[in-house]
Symmetry: C2
Subunit: 424 residues, 2 copies
């Protein structure tokens, strides 16, 4: 038996390919087998080094595989393979929101019985570590609301409809061309995908199963560019939202998946393209928001591989020592002196209000390679002191300091009260 953690990868689509790329050279893991639908299909990764099968049950039955990484999606056969793998004592890592949302209760019951773990960070929020945040980071909280943008496809379509004034059908075609929507986009545009995801988040937040069939949904297919424009005129942007919250103390929860008008100043209004963003309200923490790429090969593979790492180390306490102990590192971090960094700058000067001042400033800057992006002179005091603000292009701090040194020595300069750096 290998000392590496042995994996069987089920599915080699976009996400599966990303997982193989991220793990290929990792000494801690060994990919024992990959199950695909079509063995003859041309692939993005070289499969020569791997055992490839078109019989997914082979993975579930292979005694040399410890962990099944299910990135095939859908239910049907995939669900059967997962059940058999659990029965055979294998841990499961899955990106399959539909399977977890619909069959979670049964899957976790089997996992408990056979003493294995099922991780599913990639099922919601793509690369955003949302599940682990709810499950670990916010343990001290009673959650009172989870809401946000959890479907990248519809957010991309709505963004295109607004920013490029495209009708729905054209925005959908563009999303398909870019690989953000599937050939059959029903699950995304009719809201099923959001239903699965909000069902999972509601289960975690309110600690009991949610029946997917009871969740209200509304897709985005009715929305025209006219609605988007009208919503804008009222001060809103239209976003596809998943939402879950208890209804007072009735014991009921309000879980739904539908487009909503979001006020333009609301942080969710600024989430564009395939990005996702989720608000979580906790009894102790208040409101936290997580945002990031909600789809795509590497973001989603990042979540899957994160689960693989966490599973492999689940029996060990987290080991922060390796980050902090010089003995475990070749050296401490070598901090770069500020003089060697490159920044754009905002400089506020006080100068005498005499002719030639701005020319002198420009010369001092030019001499040290500091290029100006903007210059504003603000009034003059009764004492004849002018306030000048310079905005520079990117330049090395040492060059800026040299220019500032020259400026400070100019007889017309009274003071340089503030130098600030500009965030790129």
């Amino acid at each position: 038996m290998s000392t590496k953690t042995t994996l069987g990868i089920l599915g080699l689509g976009t996400v599966g390919t990303g997982v193989v790329k991220l793990l290929r050279d990792n000494p801690q893991f060994e990919i024992r087998a990959i199950a695909v639908r079509d063995k003859n299909k041309q692939r993005e990764v070289d499969l020569a080094d791997f055992h490839v099968t078109d019989n997914a049950f082979e993975l579930a039955d292979d005694p040399n595989i410890e962990v099944i990484v299910e990135v095939a999606g859908g239910i049907g056969q995939v669900h059967e393979v997962v059940k058999r793998a659990i029965k055979n004592g294998k841990h499961i890592i899955t990106a399959n929101k539909e399977m977890i949302a619909k069959h979670g209760p049964e899957i976790f019951e089997a996992a408990n019985k056979h003493n294995v773990t099922v991780f599913f960070e990639a099922a919601v929020g793509g690369g955003i570590p949302l599940i682990s945040t709810m499950q670990r980071g916010l343990q001290a909280n009673r959650i009172s609301k989870v809401a946000g943008i959890v479907n990248g496809t519809t957010n991309y379509i709505l963004t295109m409809m607004e920013q490029e004034k495209k009708p729905f059908a054209e925005a959908l075609r563009e999303a398909q061309a870019k690989g953000y929507a599937e050939a059959d986009p029903t699950d995304d545009i009719e809201g099923n995908d959001v239903v699965y995801k909000i069902a999972i988040l509601a289960s975690l937040a309110f600690q009991s199963p949610v029946e997917v069939g009871k969740i209200y949904k509304q897709g985005i297919t009715q929305i025209s560019d006219l609605d988007i424009q009208l919503a804008n005129e009222f001060g809103y942007r239209i976003k596809m939202i998943g939402l879950a919250q208890p209804v007072g103390d009735t014991g009921k929860i309000d879980v739904r998946a539908h487009p909503m008008l979001v006020p333009l100043h609301h942080p969710l209004a600024g989430i564009e393209g395939v990005n996702n963003a989720i608000f979580i309200n906790g009894s102790a923490v208040g409101e936290v928001m997580l945002s990031g790429p909600g789809a795509g090969q590497f973001p989603t593979a990042s979540a899957v591989v994160g689960d693989i790492f966490n599973l492999a180390s689940a029996l060990k306490l987290p080991d922060f020592a390796r980050y902090f102990q010089p003995a475990m590192n070749s050296t401490t971090c070598d901090v770069c002196p500020i003089e060697e960094t490159t920044n754009a700058y905002y400089i506020r000067l006080e100068t005498l209000d005499v002719p030639g001042v701005i020319g002198h400033l420009g010369l001092a800057c030019g001499e040290h390679g500091v290029s100006l992006l903007g210059l504003v002179q603000k009034g003059v005091t009764d004492e004849g002191v002018a306030t000048i603000v310079l905005l520079t292009h990117q330049v090395k701090e040492s060059q800026l300091q040299a220019a500032l040194g020259d400026i400070r020595r100019q007889l017309t300069t009274k003071e340089i009260p503030v130098v600030l750096r500009v965030l790129r």
Copy 2:
């Protein structure tokens, strides 16, 4: 020996009081002792049930305490107590950024030697589960940048200076009056607090210790309301930023703590008051952002108590089953039907362009208790069809549906193509 996890709380300031409030009634934990500086001080929580001491070393030496929760802050004696507790085999949970940033290497070496764990989620980002996200959720990633707003006090001061046009000294006094700044605000306004926090984040991101003394810092004391106004005119907002990134492949890292001009459309520009927000760039995931309350009693206590829960369960695999298994719950979540939910609505109608249409709409709404917030009529087609948009106040879905039913039955109504809900 108790079957509960036994805790010793070191410090009973704002955060310590929050921790006691959150844990007081939790059956899983027992607070064995609380160490305070002044036993006679009036407290927010009733201490009658607790053993209170003014000798902090008593906690470190008590064989009945398994975990020391250090929420006193500062170094000096606190650091000595922590060292002795580690030597005595106790786990440490700390909110102390200064201690971790300055003495991390030594503390983690001792912890390793004595086989105990040191958790410090509350040291950075208040209630935002930032440490666990970097340490667990993003394990598959090489981090290329960490940057953001990590100090609530300076963000509050800068927000006040901008929004209420207050000078620095007045904004600082207000922050002190509200408990957001300490009586001696030096660590916050001179940038030390950001230095400690960014040192910790850089250590985690780049997996080696960072010498705090080498980190460049600039406080916010030089910034006048004039700078804030000028920055605005250029399209920027001034924010106190911590930043860490490798410098190309030089092996050096660029770590700093200083105010920066942030473009107004940048998400960090929208982070107001004592909130924090941190961007993390990962090789696989791309850019994720976490935001939320960066300070305050319960947000910070949420992070401390989260660590306590995680530590207590660290030897067990996460158990998702309890959320998904009906057998482990009294029942599945009872999903509230959409008819029982309350929302504001956007309704787009097509009607005949004849007199009285709007009156009929208004009557139908009024009859079912649907109150209108806005109504817009948009042009008329050649066929005499008018587009009307209604925006309603909050109302029960069933009432809205009843009103829509009436409207649909009106002879002047052609169609109701879209009904959307408005996010509060």
